[in-house]
């Protein structure tokens, strides 16, 4: 099986890796790029633990071939913080204790960032529908939604 050379941009930096033709982008991120923040919960698009942003759109990296990344811009959970400074969404997840085991958290944070980049002022219902593809077996979602709404408010410059 011949590997293909892929050139892409990951978290603002040029990146290159070798991928087997049918390898998922999730596997390439984790195993070739050693960006292990994105998780595999299901491998079938149901759980959202592998969520990444490609050219500004939220997608499941388990449902994309690694070779499809060629020429595209990817943001993973590793690119959400600004150096040592946490993104407001990350900070609010901590403040609201919106995680227990943490397995779903990278996907939820990336999905929330994608939501707030596009819709800075979502209603709670909009936030819940936007995040319907991110499963969490621990928290019961309520604290997650509170963190999301609080992060949205902070990013708009209002205190909730």
């Amino acid at each position: 099986m011949s590997k293909q050379h892929v050139t892409t941009t990951i978290n603002g930096e040029p990146a290159e890796f070798l991928a087997e033709p049918f390898m998922s982008l999730l596997d390439a991120l984790r195993d070739e790029m050693h960006l292990t923040g994105s998780k595999e919960g299901c491998g079938s698009g149901d759980c959202g633990a592998c969520s990444i942003i490609v050219d500004g759109r939220l997608v499941c990296s388990c449902l994309m071939l690694a070779v499809e990344a060629e020429g595209h811009e990817i943001i993973t959970i590793e690119g959400v913080a600004n150096g040592d400074e946490l993104h407001p969404v990350q900070r609010k997840f901590l403040e609201h204790a919106a995680l227990q085991c943490g397995y779903c958290t990278p996907g939820l944070i990336v999905a929330t960032k994608a939501l707030l980049d596009r819709h800075p002022n979502p209603t709670e219902t909009e936030a819940r529908y936007w995040l319907a593809g991110n499963l969490c077996r621990c928290t019961g979602y309520d604290k997650i939604i509170r963190a999301v709404m609080d992060a949205a408010a902070e990013m708009r410059g209002v205190t909730a």
């Binding site: 099986m1 011949s2 998922s24 698009g45 499941c60 593809g133």
Partner: protein
């Protein structure tokens, strides 16, 4: 044989690849069906041909004649097109029901159609809108009504070497609109137990002059329900017309029986959803006549 991925940049190159290939070649649009099947081992392709570098296959063009939707255009892009949402709200709401935000970032109309699931949400809406699939292949191009693409679960009428390049929708007549409804046991992230789409055109007095009705998930393929359309044409969707539509919808159902819906339940719901979708389509068409936006 070694596995390979190809991303041709012209239609001719893609057709040559599909016709020349030995072994199983699978076409890739958004991959939200194909990658799941690949991972589970349900399909074992030798070659995956990605269509997305072919010009025109991603994006929506609005012309004097109507709309051209690139075959691989993701649901998220379809949902953001105000012109399409105004002209064909049924297609947009159906396409946007597919999966999660993540799935919407990739899932396309061509993939939804060619995966040939009886429950594919966008298909009844495309059928009632009169969508035409532009199929390209070794013998050039042909225009195929969407209802003629799927011939059974997982099977399409596309010949070897053929694929869908785009969908064409005519500019809708005045006072026309459509709607799609599905029943699922939850509110999100589920597959239709029944789906129903209706498109109507009204005259100046509000009488239905043209209609199309289609059902999903109640037979091996999506159904075009001609008797259902005839039941409401000539009416203002009064109770008698709605009752006839309900009966016509139930009459064509040939559903499966499973844990998500018994045969009786699916048949009953098909009638109910057909009525409700018709009512929404008429409301939208009337709203358009009054110049209001929906």
């Amino acid at each position: 044989m070694s596995l390979s991925y190809a991303s041709p940049t012209t239609v001719n190159e893609a057709v040559a690849l599909l016709t020349g290939a030995t072994g199983l070649t699978k076409i890739l649009s958004g991959g939200t069906d194909l990658l799941v099947q690949l991972r589970s081992g349900r399909v074992k392709p030798d070659i995956i041909m990605d269509t997305k570098k072919i010009p025109g296959i991603l994006g929506i063009i609005e012309t004097e004649a109507g709309f051209v939707i690139g075959a691989a255009t993701p649901g998220a892009v379809i949902g953001e097109h105000a012109g399409l949402a105004a002209a064909y709200p049924g297609i947009v709401e159906a396409a946007n029901l597919i999966g999660s935000t993540q799935v919407q970032g990739r899932a396309s109309l061509a993939g939804n159609l060619c995966n040939a699931s009886p429950a594919a949400d966008s298909v009844p809406a495309m059928i009632t809108a009169g969508a035409i699939a532009i199929v390209v292949g070794p013998n050039g191009q042909r225009a195929v009504p969407v209802e003629q693409i799927v011939i059974g679960p997982g099977r399409t009428s596309l010949a070897r070497g053929e694929f869908i390049l785009e969908f064409k929708l005519p500019k809708p007549a005045a006072r026309s609109s459509g709607a799609y409804l599905r029943f699922i046991p939850r509110t999100e992230m589920d597959i239709a137990v029944v789906g129903a789409a209706v498109n109507v055109t009204l005259d100046a007095a509000g009488v239905i002059t043209h209609a199309r009705v289609s059902l999903g998930a109640v037979a091996p393929t999506q159904l075009l329900v001609v008797d259902g359309a005839n039941a409401i044409i000539g009416s203002k969707l009064d109770d008698a017309a709605l009752a006839k539509l309900d009966a016509a919808a139930r009459a064509v159902c040939n559903p499966i029986d499973d844990k998500r819906g018994t045969i009786d339940f699916r048949i009953k719901v098909a009638g109910v959803l057909a009525r409700r979708a018709a009512a929404i389509a008429v409301q939208r068409a009337l709203g358009q006549a009054a110049g209001t936006k929906h």
